[in-house]
Amino acid sequence: MTELSHEEIKHHIKIYIGVFVALAFLTIVTVAVAGFHLPLVPAVTIALLIATIKGSLVATFFMHLGWEKKIIYWILVLTVIFFVVLLVLPAVSSA
């Protein structure tokens, strides 16, 4: 990242402001949606959908994952696989 030229970084800053606005907006949307008191399943799906969008915004732009190297992607793919296994864990006990 360190060898970016000045113009590129100025361009990046515009992106960061844009991402910030999007995140703020999505936060308000999440709170608004919660106000409707939807039944559990739709409420969960919407809330997690918005959270995932916000999360991927932060990860892609703030954490520069958008243009990261292959080795980092490999480690993240590995972690996501075992993260999913971890989240499936509660289903294991009730099955």
Partner: protein, 594 residues
């Protein structure tokens, strides 16, 4: 390697020499010093854990009889008139497991051998983050001290088994809180250590040393580091939850409506003890692979070097190790078949357990086939490495009946389970660690350990270790439960009680036979036979550095152009070719390693 010349290396070297003693040996950032610190502390805790076991064996062989000689050394809460109390027996059992796994074998196999040998074998000057490496040793040390001190806590150390199942662990004495704190330190020590291993192997390999030219030992440590990195945090989370349960009276693992010795519990309830078991075994199964993979790495190095021929099926072994790493995350619930789990889930975990047995068989078979066509030298490291194969074989095979849920109904939580995992860990991993100590002792000290004492140590240990663990299968089939303070209470355990006497005597004699190793170890540091930098005629990079290697390891950063096990290459005078030997024009017949 940047163009920094050897001169620059020399100045770094010179600067290191005049560091004060406590910076060079106590808070050292040299991976070799840290490796030796881990190894020595690990060996001490292994011996301490062994002594706890020898006490347990007395109570199992002669239940209720006063312990001769040292019986009255213990205070009232442990032994009354030399007769062991059940609480103390449970402490010995829980701490024997915890100390041997988390403070003995893992620090020795991953901390000791990994730290000392891995940077040398990848041709690096040191670990990627030397200060982080020092921090992870001292976190381990503090964790070890807390665990050791917990014996002197009021009502003693943790006594709910090394698995600490709640609600028993939640209502246990303060020793359990110290156990959780000690575990927090040990977990974070292994976590930071694994980051070091991954970055060193990925980033600091010598020029030309591609991943598939890495010695199998490096592969084993690299994959073990991923297991540590991704499997330990869930146990950290579980430890946080149990600490909250014990200190903040939350009820993560405490269901509602509990009545503990006659008193209705005032806790809010709503928790579930099975949650701890899931989180614990989510770590503990990758943890048992953390115990065995470095051992397989050591055995592979020793076998390749002492059969004077390349390993058979190196690529298949590497792929199997990767497969084991993935599968180890989806088998954990085969420890929980009898917790009321449904048949759908138990079938899933039986299938994954059977699948994971295949890569282990592949690795074991490849190691055995590597003997075929070799010229086998039976020195002490090779004796231990060869003995590892059948012993780990028994450990692996006896895992099958436990992996099948129906057979596990009878064998669950019996001595069959104890025999199974001890065969994998004791004559398995610990024999491999002995092989590693005998094999790399010359590299660490410049002197060899005595072969005579080594062979006595091997044969005595081999005989007595089987004397301890083989009868366990007979007791297991008879249905004798584990963790019983006094097995003679049960009629179905009475016929196998004479076996307990045989096993206890074998255990004590096994303890005595370690004296040959201890004498050999300390004697050889000062008076061992001096050797050059490659006494075994091995090929991997650590044997190109002087013994003991200076700070910064290699005077000239090595360049690698050959496979890890170029032994008995036709058309050459010496029967080994160092990995860092420049590749001359391809000579007919001297094909690259497959």
């Amino acid at each position: 390697m940047s163009t920094a010349s050897a001169a620059h290396l020399a100045t770094a070297e010179h600067h290191y020499e005049d560091l004060p003693f406590w910076r060079k040996y106590i808070f050292s950032t040299d991976h070799k010093v840290i490796g030796i610190q881990y190894a020595v502390t690990g060996l001490l805790f292994l011996f301490f854990g062994f002594c706890l076991m020898m006490l347990i064996r007395w109570q199992l062989a002669y239940p209720g009889q006063p312990l001769p000689l040292i019986g009255n050394l213990f205070n009232e809460s442990a032994m009354v008139g030399g007769i062991m109390l059940p609480e103390f027996y449970n402490q010995l059992g829980a701490m024997h497991g915890t100390i041997m796994v988390f403070m003995g074998v893992v620090p020795l196999a991953v901390g000791g051998f990994g730290n000392f040998v891995l940077p040398l074998q990848v041709g690096a000057a040191d670990m990627a983050f030397p200060k982080l490496n020092m921090v992870s040793y001292w976190l381990y040390f503090v964790g070890g001290v807390i665990m050791f001190a917990s014996f002197f806590a009021p009502a003693g150390a943790a006594q709910s088994g090394w698995t600490s199942y709640p609600p028993l662990a939640n209502i246990a004495s303060v020793g359990q809180t110290l156990w959780l704190l000690g575990m927090a330190f040990l977990i974070n020590s292994s976590l930071l250590g694994s980051i070091n291993f991954i970055v060193t192997t990925a980033q600091l390999r010598a020029k030309g040393l591609s991943f598939y030219k890495l010695p199998f030992f490096v592969w084993a440590q690299f994959i073990t580091a991923f297991l540590l990195l991704l499997a330990f945090p869930p146990l950290m989370a579980a430890a946080v939850l149990q600490l909250m349960d014990r200190l903040a009276a939350t009820s993560f693992f405490m269901p509602s409506g509990l009545v503990v010795n006659g008193v209705v519990s005032q806790l809010s309830g709503g928790g579930n003890p099975i949650l701890w078991q899931h989180l614990f075994w989510f770590l503990a199964h990758p943890e048992v692979y953390v115990l065995i993979l470095p051992a397989m790495g050591i055995v592979a190095e020793v076998i390749a070097c002492n059969t004077r021929k390349p390993l058979y099926g190196y690529k298949a072994m590497v792929d199997s190790v990767i497969a084991i790493a993935f599968l180890s995350f989806v088998v954990w619930a085969h420890h929980m078949y009898l917790t009321g789990m449904g048949t759908k889930m138990s079938s899933f975990f039986q299938i994954t357990t059977m699948i994971i047995s295949i890569p282990s068989v592949i690795i074991l078979t490849s190691l055995a086939l590597s003997l075929w066509g070799g010229s086998i030298r039976f020195n002490t490291p090779m004796l231990f490495a060869v003995a590892f194969l059948p012993m780990f074989g028994i450990g692996g095979l006896t895992g099958l009946p436990l992996g099948l849920a129906s057979a596990d109904i009878h064998l669950h939580d019996t001595y069959y389970v104890i025999g199974h995992f001890h065969y994998v860990v004791a004559p398995g991993t610990i024999f491999a660690l002995f092989a590693g100590v005998y094999h790399w002792f010359p590299k660490a000290t410049g002197r060899r350990m005595s072969e005579a004492l080594g062979k006595i140590h091997f044969w005595l240990s081999f005989i007595f270790i089987n004397g301890v663990f083989m009868p366990m299968f007979i007791q297991g089939l008879a249905g004798v439960s584990r963790r019983l303070y006094d097995p003679t209470q049960y009629a179905h355990a009475l016929p196998t009680q004479p076996l307990n006497v045989v096993m206890s005597w074998s255990a004590w004699l096994l303890g005595l036979s370690q004296i040959f190793f201890i004498i050999n170890f300390f004697k050889s540091i000062f008076w061992g036979q001096k050797v050059d930098q490659n006494p075994w005629g091995a090929t991997t990079l650590e044997w190109t550095a002087p013994s003991p290697p200076p700070h910064g390891n290699f005077t000239k950063p090595p360049v690698v152009s050959r496979g890890p096990y170029e032994y008995s290459v036709p058309g050459r005078k010496l029967d080994y070719v160092l990995q860092s030997e420049p590749a001359e024009a391809p000579v007919a017949g001297a094909g690259k390693v497959k």
